[in-house]
C-alpha cells in the first residue's frame, strides 16, 4: 500500500478554525486513502471535522500529514498545496 508523508506548516493567521478545517476535510474526503494528521501527541483523521477542529492548530504549528492508499501521493500533494495557499482565504 503506497504511503506518502509531508510536513504541513499552518501559514494562515487564524489557523485551522471552522472554514479552513471544513475545506481540509472536504478536500481529504475526495481521496480513497486513509489520511491522518499528527500534531505532537494528538492525531486526527483528516476526513473528520471534529477530529481536525480538536487539533486546534494555530498559526505556525507544524503537523505531519500521512496518507495510506492508492492515491496517497496525490492526496498529500493536494492537501499540502491547500495549506500552502492559506486555504485561499487570506485576510
Amino acid at each position: 500500500m503506497p504511503v506518502a508523508e509531508a510536513y504541513l506548516v499552518i501559514k494562515n493567521k487564524v489557523g485551522l478554525h471552522a472554514r479552513p478545517a471544513r475545506l481540509l476535510v472536504q478536500t481529504a474526503a475526495q481521496f480513497q486513502s486513509r489520511i491522518q494528521l499528527q500534531q505532537g501527541e494528538k492525531s486526527a483523521n483528516a476526513k473528520s471535522i471534529i477530529g481536525v477542529l480538536k487539533l486546534g492548530a494555530v498559526f505556525g504549528d507544524v503537523l505531519v500529514l500521512r496518507a495510506e492508499g492508492e492515491d496517497a501521493e496525490k492526496a498529500v500533494k493536494t492537501l499540502t498545496e491547500l495549506v500552502d495557499r492559506k486555504f485561499d482565504e487570506e485576510e
Partner: protein, 141 residues
C-alpha cells in the same frame, strides 16, 4: 445525495441563522431547512413547521434533526410521527440529535457534505459537545 438537516429552534431568527452558518460549511451540497418559532411567529415550536422542513430536506440518505432546547423534542417527535406514518421503511430514516445546536449543525453539515451516512453524521454531531471553544495552553485534549 447527502443527509438532510432540519434545524428546530424556539426562535425563527435563530433557526435561520444556524441554517445560514451550516449552509456556508456545506457549500451547497446539503439540504438544510429551518423550523423556528410558532405558526403565529411567536417564540416556541410548531409541529407543522417541523413537518414542512422534514419534507423540504427529505432524501434517500435520511435526515438529522438538531434542536436548540430539549423542550423542542416533543413537537419534533410528533412531526416525525406524522412524517413517517404508514412508512415502515422509515424506521431508521430520521435521527434527533442531542448535540448543541450551532456546533452540531456545523459539524453535521461538513460530515454530510462529504457523503457520510446518517449514522456517521449523527455520531459526529453528538461529539460536538466535546469540542473545546477555548484551547488553553494546558488543555488535556
Amino acid at each position: 445525495m447527502t443527509v438532510g438537516l432540519v434545524i428546530v429552534s424556539h426562535s425563527a431568527q435563530l433557526a435561520e441563522g444556524v441554517v445560514e452558518l451550516a449552509g456556508q460549511m456545506a457549500q451547497g451540497k446539503v439540504a438544510i431547512a429551518a423550523a423556528g418559532g410558532t405558526a403565529a411567529g411567536a417564540l416556541g415550536t410548531s409541529v407543522e413547521k417541523i413537518l414542512a422542513a422534514l419534507h423540504v430536506v427529505d432524501g434517500p440518505d435520511g435526515i438529522l434533526v438538531l434542536l436548540d432546547l430539549g423542550s423542542a423534542v416533543m413537537a419534533t417527535e410528533m412531526a416525525i410521527e406524522a412524517f413517517t406514518e404508514g412508512r415502515e421503511d422509515f424506521q431508521d430514516h430520521i435521527i434527533i440529535s442531542s448535540a448543541p445546536l450551532v456546533e452540531g449543525a456545523v459539524i453535521a453539515a461538513v460530515e454530510s457534505s462529504i457523503g457520510n451516512s446518517l449514522h456517521e453524521v449523527a455520531e459526529a454531531a453528538a461529539e460536538a459537545c466535546t469540542l473545546p471553544k477555548v484551547h488553553s495552553q494546558n488543555s488535556q485534549d
